[in-house]
């Protein structure tokens, strides 16, 4: 690699997570923390315990993913009879009624995106742990992609909220949020934290260390 291009870590510098100011890495005794002189954020060379934290959050989200898909998301009561709908039965309803675009949107946001996030994050964690040097640029791109798509899973939570509001209040039918809604919200929130706790610079640290 071009000697003019070096990483902050190799030069003994720390880039602040928040304001991106470069500081000289201080010598710290255990228990001491350094703070950025410009914005006051804690300084870390890399996000602390990034791999362990991301693993923990990914596994927690995967546990919640099961009840989110199996339990009912909405419970519709019309004229005394109740009907429970899971995420997938909602998708199937849209396919039967001919709204393929909406079915595709819900399937992508609620089922496919969380699944894809698990797959990508686990792949990134494993490649970092096994010190892989394959295609670091593409892996960074994958990380950026997971960070961007995660929020769209909130779609189903909002649909439930809006349906509850519209159909309630003196109407013949009534829609209630089912137990899956809670687990599903947990999946979305936890995977967002998981993506945030992963540090993509770990991918490049491995590449740099192998170069030496």
């Amino acid at each position: 690699m071009n000697p003019a291009h070096s990483s902050a870590r190799r030069l003994g510098l720390i880039s602040c997570h928040d304001c991106h100011l470069l500081s000289r890495a201080p010598d710290l005794a255990t228990g001491e923390t350094a703070y950025c002189s410009r914005c006051g954020e804690e300084l870390h060379q890399r996000k602390p315990n990034s791999v362990a934290r991301t693993w923990a959050l990914v596994l927690a989200a995967m546990v919640c993913y099961v009840p989110a898909n199996v339990l009912p998301m909405t419970i519709t009561t019309a004229l005394g009879s109740a009907q429970s709908d899971t995420i997938m039965s909602g998708v199937i309803y849209f396919i039967h009624s001919g709204s393929f675009a909406i079915a595709a949107v819900i399937f992508t946001a609620s089922v496919f995106v969380p699944f894809l996030k698990f797959a990508i994050l686990i792949y990134l964690l494993l490649t970092v742990q096994f010190k892989s040097t394959r295609r670091p640029k593409d892996r960074t791109r994958l990380y950026r992609f997971t960070e961007a798509i995660g929020r769209w899973s909130m779609l189903d939570i909002y649909v439930v909220t809006i349906l509850v509001a519209l159909v309630k209040l003196g109407f013949i039918a009534e829609i209630d949020a089912g137990p899956a809604a809670f687990y599903f919200a947990a999946v979305v929130v936890i995977t967002m934290f998981a993506a945030e706790s992963f540090d993509p610079r770990l991918i490049w640290d491995v590449v740099e260390d192998k170069d030496e």
């Binding site: 304001c19 991106h20 670091p136 990380y143 939570i157 809670f182 919200a185």
Partner: protein
Amino acid sequence: MHQIACHECDLIHDIPDMPGRAAAVCVRCGCILFRAKTDSINRTLAWTCAGLVLYVVAVTFPFLAMKNGPIGNETGLLTGIELLYRQGIISLAALVLLTCIVIPLIQMLGLLYIFIPLKLNVRTRYAAPVFRLFRHIKPWSMMEIYMLGILVSIVKLAKMATIVPGLAVFAFSLLIFVLNFALSSVDEHMVWEKLEETP
């Protein structure tokens, strides 16, 4: 000219002073290091003020109405959250309230708190922590996803009743664009430099 480390691969770059509307891209991983903005302070303030007006309209005016013959039911932006809360699903109600109502408001108020003093060239306390908070809550502002949720709900209920969009829906959809323009006219690098000058 200043030095910056790529926040995705840690590579050090020398960034020259750039002309307006240019972006610096990391040579190793391809992520955007930062974008230069023109007239950041004025534009951010203008978009934010417009956003606050739309926000007030979106929260107070009727949002969606449902009509089925003589029976009608009008809802506001907050109705669904209130009903979830009353059903006892407090965590869900809180999540929707935060991501669609509270966080966009904090974003706009935070921008005003930082950019009005910058415009007037005065110093304020806690500007750095406020700007840090502003950066951290950014991914949790999800109004555009809520809008897609409205679309899905309308299709879902189309057979049961007619859905009439209220004034608040239009204000809300405009707000999504206006807030995005406000956010994209924030020159973070400039803000940090100015905050450093006036500690």
